[in-house]
């Protein structure tokens, strides 16, 4: 049974530059919630972004991982932390 930490490590290892926050929200080792931020998502639709993350786990989703609820983000989107670099460059 995977742990939240394992899920986090696998996402971060598989998706370039990804930072993942993973929570086992039932404590049962099969329902997870993840927020994943990666530059690899740039230019992808939300569907494609989620598919990238689901792809890390293949058949485990729907099997040992009953649910993996996702929120994906590209760093430096407006309103997302990371925009400071631009601001610094401008001054």
């Amino acid at each position: 049974m995977p742990t939240a930490e394992e899920i986090k490590q696998r996402i971060e290892a598989a998706i370039p530059g990804a930072r993942a926050d993973v929570e086992d929200y039932t404590g049962g080792g099969d329902h997870f919630r993840a927020t994943v931020v990666s530059p690899a998502f740039a230019g992808c639709s939300r569907i494609q972004q989620h598919k990238l993350v689901y792809g890390v786990f293949g058949d485990e989703i729907g099997g040992p991982i009953h649910a993996l609820s996702l929120k994906t983000q590209v760093p430096q989107e407006p309103g997302v932390a990371g925009g400071e670099q631009h601001a610094a460059a401008a001054t």
Binding site: I61, G62, A67, L70
Partner: protein, 136 residues
């Protein structure tokens, strides 16, 4: 590709997606959802008073297998609009909160809508029967 004939379920699913503007593949029925994610997705569609067809994937495990093969999406529910996968519960939730969902569904975001329940319950059986006819 010799497996076209051997795949009536996949054909039925593809047809159902093509024939219904808005179709939700879910666990259980809109009246009795069998999973919290399906329940939430139904509730969002109903709160927008969006007419939708619904297919219960639970009666036969092949429905889910073939659906995921078509969509490339591993989880349930799956919402399709105009033949395209919109997403599962997470994406639908984000779109609902941002107002995009109403737009995607072609609804006015101002809620001056009509008879929800009639629309919802009229549109379900079409989805259900279509798939299940092929299972027999």
């Amino acid at each position: 590709m010799s497996d076209t004939e051997s795949n009536p379920i996949r054909d039925a699913i593809a047809e159902a997606i093509a024939e219904h503007d808005t179709i939700l593949f879910m666990k259980g029925t809109p009246e009795a959802p069998a999973c919290g994610f399906s329940a939430r997705t139904v509730a969002m569609l109903q709160s927008l008073e969006a007419p939708f067809a619904a297919v219960d994937i639970l009666p036969d495990p092949r429905i889910r297998q073939e659906l995921s093969a078509i969509s490339g999406w591993p989880t349930i529910p799956q919402l399709f609009v105009g033949g395209e996968l919109v997403g599962g519960c997470d994406i639908v939730t984000e779109m609902y909160e941002s107002g995009e969902l109403a737009e995607t569904l072609g609804l006015e975001s101002s809620e001056g809508a009509t008879a929800t329940q009639t629309l919802a319950s009229e549109s379900q059986p079409a989805g259900f029967t279509q798939i299940e006819n092929r299972l027999g």
